[in-house]
Symmetry: D2
Subunit: 375 residues, 4 copies
């Protein structure tokens, strides 16, 4: 079973990941990982820090000559900003308290994290709760994506809405594959213009915006996940992976929300069969998952993201030291991170898919899995 | 760590559950569990089988004199219908193939399950994928609910919408606590009438309806879950537990969907402090979870349920034996199970909460946990 | 991944198990399970209770017509003694305290368990810590044994020593397969006589004896377990499973203990190759495991069992209520359970093997696994 | 729950570890970790490489100003030798095959690992199966040791025997604490001289030696682990952790092996009580564990280590490419690693103890756990 741990603080030395259970003999293209890391950092509406940090992965173990060894793959992504932050963040040395934070920001882990872990300095929370952590999940997912490409599996995503832009319909797979061409990752040109305008306006007023995006996974065989036990259901596992992404507050499989208001006869995807295609459906309102299993259609998942809570336009809060009210401090300056989150979600989703794929096919080496998958 | 396994087929001998890690010396009221089992079976729009099966739990181990022993609690819920089904479902004896199924129903695990597990008889899938399995989750959750009551934690739920009824606003906790009084578990009298009407109409036309409901958990301390690792985030863990309930296709934390279209300044819950209340918020758009942790406010989660796929009004499918097209068979006859699902969701949610509570407080016995919780 | 939970108190209603992840379409012979349950209960030196309880498994779910469904298999083993014990052990009803225990027995979980779980009545501990629990592990393992027989894998065991009988050499596999013919499961006729004599003498003096036995697993492919991460090593996983059996206090892989005093040139098994056999060894001092993986030779594991702590010949202890010294009470009356433990160990070992086999071959159905295994 | 992953190849860039679930506000002394790393590298009979590599930990995350943040702690230990090995081991670049290995060494993971993961070059196995990996386990355990020191828990070890030296009795805790003073970690001066002589002789003849050592853990409260489920038993968990150490082939709790040949009346530790000491025993043949739980006495565990399989004195094997017989190649040159393994075992054992301690006491911060532990 593919398992992994992530580590790293936002202004610490580096982000780190280890993934265990990755099969042997898989070619890994590090530049493709770096590209996915860049895709997470791009996007209209990101703040200045994105320009400082151009993430690059450094592989420490588990690969040799560009191929996986079956042993755990460890890697790090350096925080280039660390040199400016060392005096505040050194793992060992004495800490300059010039960056101590006692004022919890609404919408963040700040207050609860400080209470839970008994910190005076909220920085001890926010450095880890920061979405910067998702760079590790992107790197991990990017490796799993490369593994899954051997089996014809692809993952992609696109943004449907930001702020109060009404989402359109977008089902052209070729366009979705090219979503990176849009600065806001929206393939509907009209919506794209509206989104850019909304972000510009939010920036101007010091506000922030959330939005809605969709992840698709193509080329899956039927039968990933299982109906036999609740915690093996693929929809549940995807929901956890996606809801755990910072600021994601709702997850929808297929047309789940609309379907809840329709009659059954309008909702379920009828089943057809032909000699060449085998079983297939002509619609995909289920989003590719029935009974907790991939059904062979494309997986379609949507995520609803709240506006990132870091604001120029401050909110009321309470200083934890003095217990006095204040208006919340500004830590960073993105006004919209929906495009970035869509990349993280791609990677979180393909990681779950890879786990379930390996659970079904077993296999220690790529060759072995390929034999079984073809069989 | 509280962990559990569930077992049982819909028309098999019995449903079974084992829960391990339950603290010692907790008084368990079996009648309260039976009441939760009944709450799952009630509800306007359920089919005839609900009248046959009046579920009762039988404790096999882990309790003595009504108190938990710290050892695994095993229990079963007999399928009263089993005597009529024994010839088709006997675990050991030869099987009468009079109930064999070769025609997969759209929207079910049927087709994929039969392919995955290599069955000719789809009954081998549908008996387990059936939502009847949720009775075990209800019994388990009902025990965790009783554990959590010792710490002042309560769980409740209510239905906001069925079919195309427009959901209203319902925030009166006293009314929500009384949701069981409504045959459709809707506390808004006007909506209730509309829902009943919609169900009646669906029944008439042989169709089915889904809907939307809300689960609330009250009385939690801040700090359940954690921001430090993705798989410890409380929202992610709740999302998995709820999305794994049959027919749930979207999960929302707080006002997650609406929030995705608002500006940050409208979304985040400002923080206040007073000597007696400590930290508090005056709004709860975050649904009680920030940074992947309970923040001390009520947990609010919403689930979107598709219409149950079993239909009088049939859909096209393909016979797996003959590969010929047909219109899908009718296995059961509920037209709306939203009220039932809301009870299952209560229990799934409180189970996650109990797990995270015990992770934070440790503790082998109730007394020990109470000391720590008061401390 | 094959996982399971066990439940049940020694004089409670029944023992219960659930195993999840068992592939579909495996034929299960319930009489073969009952035979393994009997094998656990046989054995020279067991007390009277073994005659009362003739264990039989009752399958509650996961099988249909004698074949596995891929869904969780739940089963129970009734405690026939329960009717005599109900007034002391009823899960719900009021408890007659006539069987309350306040005097912890040395060598048992009694004292620590009562402190940990805060019990006044030590019965709340001893009912679960009793080796009666191992009946569930035997039933589970017996199913896994049947699964593994499809792949030519066999498990067997025999007793090498009881008390101070000097163990002999016994390497004849055909004799080991017939160990059940010996009342003490010892295939060396001379040692057998000495063991019987030792047990008789222990009985006479009211004392108890431990001993040494060996488990062998034949027919495994190389490559179960893995060298890549400590917790995937097969020897470590076997060690946990076996050391967790009541009264087992040392576990040895192959000739591990003797090897620790020899030179490397005497210890390691040289590698040979021939066209028909492929790679093979002519010795097996490693016990079939190198680098944490099965190497294709027979797995050989030895377990050292302490004398069961229940004694006619009492030991000093302290009453938990009065804090006064006393001599320890007698709960049961086996004088030697080494033969029984060897059966439990067979089953614990084959369960680990089954888990690792399924991890390597994946597979939802027996057919699929067979295809891969043959490939 | 404290969990961790390790990574790294023997001649790769670096070894890496991540530990998740470590409480906040624990002071970590990095020099103490480096000292434990050195203790692993010391020892009479180690080869030349130990002089090249003087391991030092570099903390990448999870600490700030020398205190833990509650977030995952990631660290690396550079392989100083890597610069000489980069052309053979670079994770990405083309690989010089000058160090390819096609000849599996008996007693190693080589043959099985190459078959399992489908490698032509056995180096892909041996780089990870090497005991060099244990440096990460030492670093992890050293942190857990520092955590546990806050609760008065200590771990120590000493060597009882190497080769055919007959082990003596050594029970003086003060001497055991000073075992590092002996170059072979043996506190019995007479045995020490014999061990040194045996190692010298093995070196001369190009042979290798194993041995026997003991790990002790002092100061534990009763009740770590549990009798309620097989996989929560402390002896089983320790057995897995220790048996997974390279070359350990038997694990014994207390006097487990001797006890297997004695009568019950001679084996079990009688229980006493006094006002100041509470419950106590005057003997400790159980090695501090009864019923799968720590009983408040010292934990005593013994490990039997085979001679390290790398030999100057070669053994027969088969070339995997040509299938021709040969005598096995020499990769490294330690003749005895028993002292080193005893340090690894200390750290593996204290890690398990820390996990169970945190399971019992829960707790996010050191302060919270201290309050509960004192309570």
């Amino acid at each position: 079973m593919l398992r992994y741990l992530t580590a790293g603080e936002s202004h610490g030395k580096s982000l780190v990941g280890i993934i265990e259970g990755f099969p042997s003999n898989v070619s890994i293209d590090v530049e493709a990982i770096n590209l996915d890391l860049k895709r997470r950092q791009w996007g209209y509406g990101r703040g200045n820090r994105m320009k400082i940090e151009s993430d690059e992965i450094e592989i420490l173990s588990g690969l040799r000559g560009g191929r996986s060894l079956g042993s755990p793959i460890a890697f790090l992504i350096r925080n280039r900003d660390y040199e400016n932050w060392q005096r505040y963040m050194d793992p060992l040395g004495p800490i300059d308290d010039g960056r101590a934070v006692t004022r919890p920001r609404p919408g963040h882990a700040d207050l609860t994290g400080a209470l839970k872990y008994r910190f005076d300095d909220i920085r001890n929370v926010l450095e880890r709760s920061s979405a910067r952590e998702t760079a590790v999940r992107v790197a991990l997912g990017s490796m799993v994506k490369q593994l899954m490409a051997n089996f014809g599996v692809e993952v992609m995503s696109h943004v449907l809405s930001v702020g109060n832009v009404v989402p359109g319909e977008s089902n052209d797979l070729n366009e979705i594959k090219d979503a990176d061409r849009s600065p806001v990752r929206c393939i509907d040109k009209k919506k794209e213009a509206q989104i850019i305008e909304a972000i510009d306006k939010a920036k101007e007023t010091g506000d922030s915006l959330g939005g809605l995006f969709e992840v698709r996974i193509l080329g899956l065989p039927p039968g990933l996940g299982s109906h036999v036990h609740w915690d093996r259901k693929l929809d549940g596992r995807l929901a956890q992976a996606l809801m755990s992404i910072q600021a994601i507050k709702a997850v929808e499989i297929g047309d789940g929300i609309e379907n809840s208001s329709l009659a059954g006869s309008q909702v379920h995807d009828e089943i057809f069969y032909s000699q060449d295609k085998g079983y297939y459906r002509e619609s995909n309102r289920a989003g590719g998952i029935e009974g907790g299993m991939s059904n062979g259609e494309d997986i379609v998942v949507r995520c609803y993201m709240k506006p990132i809570p870091t604001l120029y336009k401050p909110l009321r809060s309470v200083d934890m030291e003095s217990k006095e009210a204040f208006v919340a401090s500004v830590e960073r300056s993105d006004s919209c991170a929906v495009a970035a989150a869509s990349i993280v979600a791609e990677m979180a989703a393909i990681t779950v898919i890879g786990q379930e794929f390996l659970r079904k096919y077993g296999g220690d080496s790529l060759e072995e899995i390929l034999e079984r998958w073809k069989g």
